[in-house]
Point group: C2
DNA sequence: CGCGGCTTTGATGTTCATCAAGTAAAGTGG
DNA sequence: CCACTTTACTTGATGAACATCAAAGCCGCG
């Protein structure tokens, strides 16, 4: 799927409108609508390349994306998952010239890119906007750090259970869902190795805690999974 | 050492003055000076208690503090170290009612506490201030996440070497320094166990990579330590 | 003095990474 | 469309890294 620009999408109806952009004046909103670029990308496509220079803010509207970084030794780490209405790639956005993480779609996604300068102008001129942005920024950073610390508390089985619950409860809000990432990516997200992630999933399946059919996962034993997440 | 308030300390000469408070008008600065409370705490004293309600911003002026959280099972995790001119306890400050981490002095420290509402008023009325705050916030969050990911890349020896280099290069800028935290705290910071941290330090000493005298650490073999940090 | 917390070392077992090898699935080029 | 390559997935076996348990020394503090 190639990237396309669709200027008909309206900022007035955007999910961000009700959060960080709620305080914009009609004029500011109009400027935003005109200036922003709207993009569709397919699963696996790169939205932002690690190391490239920061020229805009990325607002994920639909889909799911991973925040990944590739280390000198070639090993990839996934810092977190960005969800719709997440203001992604933000971590270093005000303090660095380049993106420190790649943002890669893990589901077909839609996002808007807004020029860096326009947002900074809004920050300088619109106090309520600044406040909303700080709040958003704060909650996203907090979640990112909190999740990493939560993962560190657990070992293999607990981490895998944590991730399954995360997708079921936080992302899809359903006990049956299509796992959007590969086993390798789960491993990169929880700081373990593929083989051990696979082994653990197989074990959960054998113990009838989950059912795996292709990329679909169904949680069969919510209680036991939760127990493993907390104590395993 | 008990907490004391010393209203004579001037905001005009504060380190923060040159960063996030640089854009304040004389009047705003005066209001800040009058309103803020200045505190001195000794090593080990709690600056902010995890779970307490957020009523102000903490600006660390002198000293060093740890950002820690205690988990339900009693195990403590250290998310990071706050340095002077750090705007600490910020992670959840705009998005939560309570502090999610305790802030505890690990050296005799001085900090200012500014009323939450006053800062929010500044955010709403002073665009340049908002911008500075976002930049500061961004760089601190980014560093926090980046450090955790760096640690995850390494195992025991690499992590311990990383922390020693961190204190020597980033904090004290000297190859000889007083380690401000216990072995247990190092363990909590790098997600390992005390015994293994102790073993590793003993090993480094035996191999003449570092010298340990009481709480003083001297790096004897910078090259070897750096190698372990990168490849060990 | 005695208690608790921090430090240290050794011994032992668990958890996990690594290596190996095979299957399945998915893309590639003739 | 089929051989071919590549990538993801899977299981087992082995060893390395680390947690845990145990015991003793140290120090500060009531």
């Amino acid at each position: 799927m190639t990237e396309s620009i669709c200027s008909s999408s309206s900022c007035a109806q955007c999910g961000f409108r009700s959060s960080i952009f709620s305080s914009l004046t009609d004029e500011q909103l109009k400027e935003l609508t005109v200036q922003k670029s709207f993009h569709k990308v397919g699963k696996g496509e790169v939205i932002v390349e690690q190391g490239s220079s920061i020229n805009g803010f990325i607002f994920l509207r639909v889909g799911l994306a991973k925040l990944a970084r590739i280390n000198p030794d070639g090993r990839e780490q996934i810092a977190g998952i960005a969800t719709p209405n997440d203001f992604v790639g933000l971590l270093s956005i005000f303090s660095s010239k380049t993106y420190k993480y790649s943002i890669i779609a893990i589901e077909d996604s839609e996002y808007c890119q807004v020029d860096y300068q326009l947002v900074m102008d809004l920050v300088e001129t619109n106090g309520k906007f600044s406040k909303s942005l700080l709040e958003k920024f704060s909650s996203v950073s907090d979640l990112l750090v909190g999740t990493r610390l939560e993962l560190e508390l657990r070992q293999l089985r607990g981490r895998v259970a944590f991730i399954i619950c995360y997708f079921a409860n936080e992302i899809y809000k359903d006990k049956t869902f299509n796992l959007p990432i590969s086993r390798k990516e789960i491993a990169e997200l929880i700081d373990m190795r593929v083989e051990n992630v696979v082994r653990t999933l197989s074990e959960f399946r054998r113990d009838k805690i989950i059912k795996i059919e292709g990329t679909t996962i169904e949680i069969l034993d919510q209680e036991k999974l939760k127990w493993i997440k907390m104590h395993g």
